[in-house]
């Protein structure tokens, strides 16, 4: 049971981590606190539902389509709404991303309705015997996907030209543009990637907690918290912060009463933020 719970915690933590990753990418590239990040996940879930359940497209295809469309939405969001506000003060931009999240959330409600819907578990949501322990296959898929994602991003950011360009924009916009990098294009791409990441999290979440319109705010809050936990601005930190959050939540519920678990989490977080504001890990240079 312990091992099954641990895997469960790692799975949900991976989902938080993926959302936090998208969130941090945007912050790094554009210094924007993207309150709409959670809505990408919500939309991703509904898109996958449409493709997979309603249209009968095979799972991986549906997954991919959801990512592509969410990526497009991310790009459009930057193009229409964030780009005009490149030099505006942070509060204005926050309100703007809130506006986007309202549009996405209510647009989704308009298209798909508000009621919660079941999403079939492709890998199986009941525990199976794996050697000496019981695990839920769906969770293994989530963890496996995240590992691949991390590997992909490592290669992307360290080895490819586009990835390095995005990193340089994140580090120093002026210099990057002086070097001939199209800053707007890179930021737009970052938003697209963050949108896709958000959607991926949503699709992974769907078989666990159903597809519903109210997950956006909770997810972006968790992403926020995870990102800060791991050191705001650090990509590895965001992912790790999410995983830690997920594991703590799941194991905590198992061993401590669930009533005050969240209160404890948030109080600890406040103290962390006051005394170690850069989070648990140092931001990489």
């Amino acid at each position: 049971m312990f091992f099954q719970q641990l895997i469960s915690g790692l799975a949900i933590g991976s989902i938080y981590g993926i959302v936090a990753l998208g969130f941090t990418l945007i912050w790094n590239a554009a210094r924007v606190v993207n309150f709409a990040q959670g809505e990408f996940s919500m939309v991703g879930g509904f898109l996958a539902y449409t493709f997979f359940v309603l249209l009968g497209i095979p799972y991986y295809g549906a997954f991919l389509f959801a990512l592509l469309i969410a990526g497009a939405i991310g790009w459009i969001m930057d193009f229409l709404v964030i780009r005009p506000l490149r030099s505006a003060d942070p509060l204005t931009v926050v309100i703007t991303t809130l506006g986007v999240s309202i549009i996405l959330a209510n647009g989704a409600m308009f298209i798909w309705g508000t009621k919660a819907m079941a999403f079939p578990s492709v890998f199986g949501s009941n525990p199976v015997q794996l050697g000496k322990v019981m695990v839920i296959p769906e969770n293994l898929w989530i963890i496996g996907f995240t590992v691949c994602l991390v590997a992909f991003f490592y290669v992307f950011f360290q080895k490819t030209k586009a990835g390095k360009a995005i990193r340089s924009v994140a580090q120093d916009k002026e210099t990057a543009s002086l070097m001939g990098i199209n800053v707007n294009l890179m930021i737009g791409m970052t938003f697209a990637v963050a949108g896709a990441l958000g959607a991926a999290a949503g699709v992974l979440l769907a078989p666990l907690f159903f597809v519903s319109t109210d997950i956006g705010l909770t997810l972006v809050l968790k992403a926020f918290i995870a990102a800060v936990l791991g050191g705001f601005g650090s990509l590895q930190g965001a992912l790790l912060g999410g995983i830690i959050l997920g594991v703590l939540e799941t194991m905590g519920a198992f061993y401590i009463s669930s009533t005050y678990k969240d209160v404890i989490t948030f109080t600890v977080l406040i103290f962390l933020l006051i005394f170690s504001p850069t989070g648990l890990f140092k931001k990489p240079g």
Binding site: M109, K115, A116, L208, F210, S212, D214, A253
Partner: protein, 377 residues
């Protein structure tokens, strides 16, 4: 002169702005009866609102096609309470104070009805609600009436079935921490105690919770052979799934909230679970089947307990108005004295509190559908 002009400018400006707020008084037509309906139109549990409005609309269409109520057409005005008390209070205030409805149908959530009952009471508007919390009819409010038996009656019937037919001895109780869940499980607890089979454990969870590992582990530890969950569809479905995942082998039984939406969401995990209800579309009773067929033809989907309540509500209103007229006081008094009225769902007998009888059905999920296993008249 300038001062006078400025003053005029200011006042005109103010009136122009405020005139947008002018609400022209709504006359109550000689040709229509306004019936207000408040329900969960938006939110994750919006299937409930969908079922409710479809049931009500079907009845309104039927009644209006047949000439209306004493020649007056029904004007159904629908507002959303989102399942939240504050939104509900505003929605009901609008229906009662602005739209000036003759009678109000709803809300469904006890947590919305209880804090907002006073609005209809103060405005002398009869209110017919499908809410289940027993205390709603214990407030000495002469204007509140039920569309189905309250949870005290429901719990009694369900506990009786669990002890007598299912022969259960070790029962764990679960409930969602909203008015409906808290009152319902209290009633169940009471009847278990009276029958000398006290619950082995009682745990609760919050509306919107997604993970129930803590509660389920405690239940497993208690050795319970059955869980009675007074919950709502989304959480109840998640619990059903997680019970399987955590290796629970006992029975899963629920209050009225474990409805068609619950079965839709839980899919395989719902198999073998029980629920108590005021109506089931699988009920072989011919009157219920007739309703089910009409509903299915109109809406291309099956009616559920909520649809039945509000379909019934419109016909109940029709009956009372035909017998007692459109004076609210007479409407109310007549309804309090209505006995043995055969409605589609069952036999209605109202008492001074507004409670309406004891009809109830117990259903079991078999092959993805609810099957009736017990009927209480």
């Amino acid at each position: 002169m300038k001062i006078f002009r400025n003053l005029l400018l200011g006042i005109t400006g103010a009136f122009l702005i405020l005139s947008g707020f002018l609400i022209f008084p709504n006359g109550v037509d000689a040709q229509t009866i306004k019936i207000g309906l408040v329900s969960v139109i938006t939110g994750p549990t919006a299937k409930l609102g969908e079922d409710i409005t479809r049931g009500a609309k079907l009845a309104v269409e039927e009644v209006n096609k047949a000439g209306g109520i004493q020649g007056k057409k029904i004007d159904l005005i629908i507002e959303d309470d989102s399942g939240k008390p504050d939104v509900g209070v505003n929605a009901i205030t609008k229906l009662v104070r602005k739209d000036k409805v003759f009678v109000l149908l709803g809300p469904d959530y006890s947590g919305v009805t209880f804090p907002s009952m006073f609005i209809c009471q103060e405005a002398s508007v009869p209110q017919l609600t499908s809410s289940l919390a027993p205390k709603i009819t214990q407030q000495k409010n002469p204007w509140i009436f039920r569309l189905r038996p309250n949870d005290d009656t429901v719990a009694k019937i369900l506990v009786q079935y669990m002890l007598t037919n299912l022969k259960l001895k070790k029962i764990a109780l679960m409930n969602v921490a909203v008015e409906y869940g808290i009152s319902g499980i209290e009633a169940a607890e009471k009847y278990l105690r009276i029958s000398d089979v006290p619950a082995v454990l009682k745990v609760s969870y919050n509306f919107g919770d997604k993970d129930f590992t803590a509660q389920i582990s405690r239940i497993k530890e208690s050795g319970a052979e059955a869980i009675l969950n007074w919950g709502l569809p989304v959480e109840a479905a998640l619990i059903a799934k997680q019970l399987r995942q955590l290796g629970y082998k006992g029975l899963y039984i629920g209050g009225t909230g474990l409805d068609d939406h619950y079965v839709e969401l839980a899919q395989d995990a719902a198999e073998g679970s029980y629920s108590v209800t005021n109506f089931s579309s699988e009920d072989p009773d011919p009157i219920k089947q007739d309703f089910t067929k009409k509903y299915r033809t109109r809406w291309n989907s099956l009616p559920d307990r909520a649809s039945a309540n509000y379909y019934q509500g419109i016909y109940l209103i029709k009956h009372v108005v035909e017998k007692a007229g459109v004076d609210p006081m007479k409407f109310r008094d007549f309804l309090h004295n209505l006995k043995n009225w055969k409605g589609m769902q069952g036999t209605y007998s109202y008492d001074d509190n507004g409670d309406c009888g004891t009809f109830q059905t117990i259903v079991k999920v078999q092959k993805g559908k609810f099957n009736v296993v017990y009927t209480n008249p």
